[in-house]
């Protein structure tokens, strides 16, 4: 099929200019010392060595942990929603998926400000608790507030992604499994979950990526003590102006993400084989 081959040429050119060139720049920064990397090339690995510091390792561990937790919660809460939606009539499905998408069009910052007002010590939720005679709870500037903000922002992406693969599932397979004596649990793990695996993986990747690289949500809902990789990179690029170290951190992040994705792909392949 040579006919359609040429269709990908424009994007190839685009990628070279808009993706490869900036990436090479970042790459150069990561492996050089101070100054303009193009004019004066001083290769070094010191930027990477610097990351081997307890403070930075803590930042990485915390980010990955928080990202994993957020992703897991989004998956557990989002899967049933996607499943319920996929079992509706088509027109209704479209409407519901639209309803899941619309909140993401309201600016993320604006929604996060709303959460700040809801969760703050003298905020709306605590006002309501006081009204009920319950002692106020500290919610702002904790893991709780950060995770709530992230879930509210990222869960729609999980739902949409899972729904895409559930939508085209042949439901007679479920009936067949049940007819053949599978328990509901077996039907779910062996048929439904397996068939929706591509959507689940896609959703997990998208949510995880957003969660570990976001820096506005932790900054606003978690306060300065909530330092994640995104904040570290922002700090290096903006306030310190150390682009070399900032680039090194983001390269390492990219490598970690790539490895995780490989791992997940492998899991997926094994599933198909086994």
């Amino acid at each position: 099929m040579k006919h359609f081959r040429r269709l990908s040429t424009p994007y190839l050119i685009w990628c070279l200019l808009f993706i490869l060139v900036p990436f090479v720049l970042i790459f150069l920064y990561a492996f050089t010392t101070t100054g303009n990397p193009v004019r004066t090339l001083h290769f070094t690995l010191s930027n990477f060595a610097k990351i081997n510091d307890p403070a930075y390792i803590k930042v990485f561990v915390k980010s990955l942990g928080l990202g994993a937790l957020t992703t897991a919660i989004c998956l557990v809460l989002g899967y049933p929603l996607a499943y319920i939606i996929s079992r509706q009539e088509e027109a209704r499905q479209n409407a519901l998926i639209m309803a899941v998408t619309v909140p993401t069009w309201i600016n993320m910052l604006l929604r996060t400000y709303a959460w700040m007002n809801l969760l703050s010590d003298n905020g709306i939720i605590n006002g309501f608790l006081k009204f009920l005679g319950i002692d106020p709870v500290t919610m702002m500037y904790t893991s709780f507030s950060v995770i709530i903000g992230m879930i509210c922002n990222f869960m729609p992406f999980m739902v949409i992604s899972i729904h895409t693969s559930l939508e085209k599932m042949d439901y007679s397979l479920i009936e067949a499994a049940m007819d053949l004596g599978a328990t509901p649990a077996q039907t779910f793990t062996k048929v439904i979950l397996r068939l929706s695996m591509p959507g689940v993986l896609n959703g997990v990747v998208i949510v995880f990526l957003m969660a570990i690289s976001s820096f506005m949500i932790p900054k606003l809902l978690g306060g300065g003590q909530y330092m994640l990789i995104g904040n570290l990179i922002e700090q290096q690029f903006i306030s310190v102006g150390d682009w070399n170290f900032g680039s090194a951190v983001s390269l390492i992040l990219a490598v970690i993400i790539l490895l995780l994705m490989r791992l997940m792909k492998k899991m997926d392949v094994q599933r198909e084989d086994g």
């Binding site: 006919h3 190839l12 990628c15 803590k58 929603l81 949409i160 306060g223 992040l253």
Partner: protein, 636 residues
Amino acid sequence: MKKSGFFSKLYVILCFAFFYFPILITVIFSFNSSKSLSRFTGFSLRWYEALIKNTDIMNAVYVSITIAVLATVISTFLGTITAIGLSHSKKIIRETILTMNDIPILNPDIVTAIGWMLLFSSLGFKKGYVTMLLAHIGFCTPFVLTTVYPKVRELDPNLAEAAMDLGATPYEALRKVILPILKPGIFAGALLAFTMSFDDFVISYFVTGNGVKNISIVAYNMSKRINPTINALSALVVAVIAVILACMKLVPRISARREKKRRAAALASGKGGGDYTEEGSKHHLRRIAAAAAVCLFMWVFVLYLRGRSGTGETAQLRVYNAGEYVDPDLISEFEEEYGCKIIYETFESNEMMYTKLQAGDKYDILVPSDYMVERLVQEDYLQPIDWSLLSNADNLDPSVMGLETDPDNTYSVPYFWGNVGILYDKNVVSSEDLSEGWNLLMDTRYAGNLYMYDSERDSFMVALKALGYSMNTTDENEIRAAYDWLIRQRDEMDPIYAGDDVIDNMIAGNKALAVVYSGDAAYIMQENENLGYYAPEEGTNEWCDYMVITKDCKNTDLAHEFIDYFLREDVALRNTQYVGYTSAIKSVREQAAAEDFAGIDAYIPRTGYNNDEVFRYQDRTVRKLFAQLWTMVKSK
């Protein structure tokens, strides 16, 4: 289809409640009569009035929507044809494209943003609408490609072949066979692209310029102070989306009805119903054509707008100031008075401003702080002020002239000034406690009850001053001692390292103590009268923000007129009333202190106090050390 049970219905309702709750709150509070974001005091439309008057926001809405639509259409097209092409190309090309395609998805936004900022600058692009659009296409297309490509792979490769064997041209095979099957995938990709584009902040901020802003950028700048106009803006966005959705629902329905009528008429006239798929694809094409026409129209409109506000005959001045740091009415009045156009942009921190300058963005007037002025002078970004052109220069307060960072004020004209101190709740903190100075922040009676300021320099200033050192020290032992102080404070006091959100928090009275700038303190104390402000005896940071003219400025006469305008007494008074920071004009400061800020001592920071210092420019090594130590303080 099975009917959904009670529990699944309940679950769906709960999920949507969670998604829509914050939005609902925002919409409700956009009708609030007071500034409070947690107490509803009465119905009012004042924030909508403010919104409509604010041309900046209205332009941003327009930019956000047009960019999102254009980027979606273009990236969907590009992503789809690439996906189809890929499934037929050589393995090496396929792998290359797919790997490169993953880079923008894998990289944190900020890295992608900086990469593009560098690229556009080095290519010499004029930053603005076009660069923002290109960047949006750049990060939307990967999402479209990753969504559509798996669908293409699921296709039977023989489908197109079969169609062509039956006499279809490649184009027809594509349009009539392949695209209809891919439609759900393409739609999902387009939706994702629109979402990403409409919501983007980081990338847009760094690649834009010349005053082109989207909603996120405006919202971010407005967040510095409680400004319920952003709630009105959210409500407006909700309304816009509702209208778009209604159109999407209505247009196909109307055209379907028309189609039906037409078909019925054709049937009645005995010409036959026509081939269904033929009709269907025609219908499809018409829709695409309509969408394209709309986009073209918008494009022309944008070009027209840009042309109108662009390099016409009127003189222009590019001003780059901190967010919420000017009364916007004063800017428009200056434009009218001098018949010129001000391209006004805002930054969050001096460092953010510097990053953009470093990338080659051009401005005429900047408003940096003292230590940044020193750095800009050293790095040759500024041109000297011609003081003879400033007729109002005599109004300036002598006590803020000639600070060490620019001793003769060769390059800098004071704008606002102040210091840093402790804001405390008078009902919780007794006045005797204040004698503890900065060590009040280490008093365990207030553990868990204080905000530190999330900025390495300000926090280290507190620690260094508490220990009796200079805040500009480069002695590593002193810096390490300050670090130990901050670590001890973190462990014993459990402070929250807040940014500008400290303003809202202190107005709401959430905690008893906070480290704040005097101008913010004055503003907060106007809203919450239980608070007091004091600058510790050990000394503090005395700072001043200046108006400076860059080397890029060609129209220096106009630039001087602009600076002179802000030295005028009536203008400076309105400005200080709006912003809340201490004016650099002596008579204005005295008047505002007596009237607008009566009883608010934070408005008049002390001057000439020996222990107070001005921040000096730090070299890279010290800056890096501060940043590293500060990261260690924050990462528990």
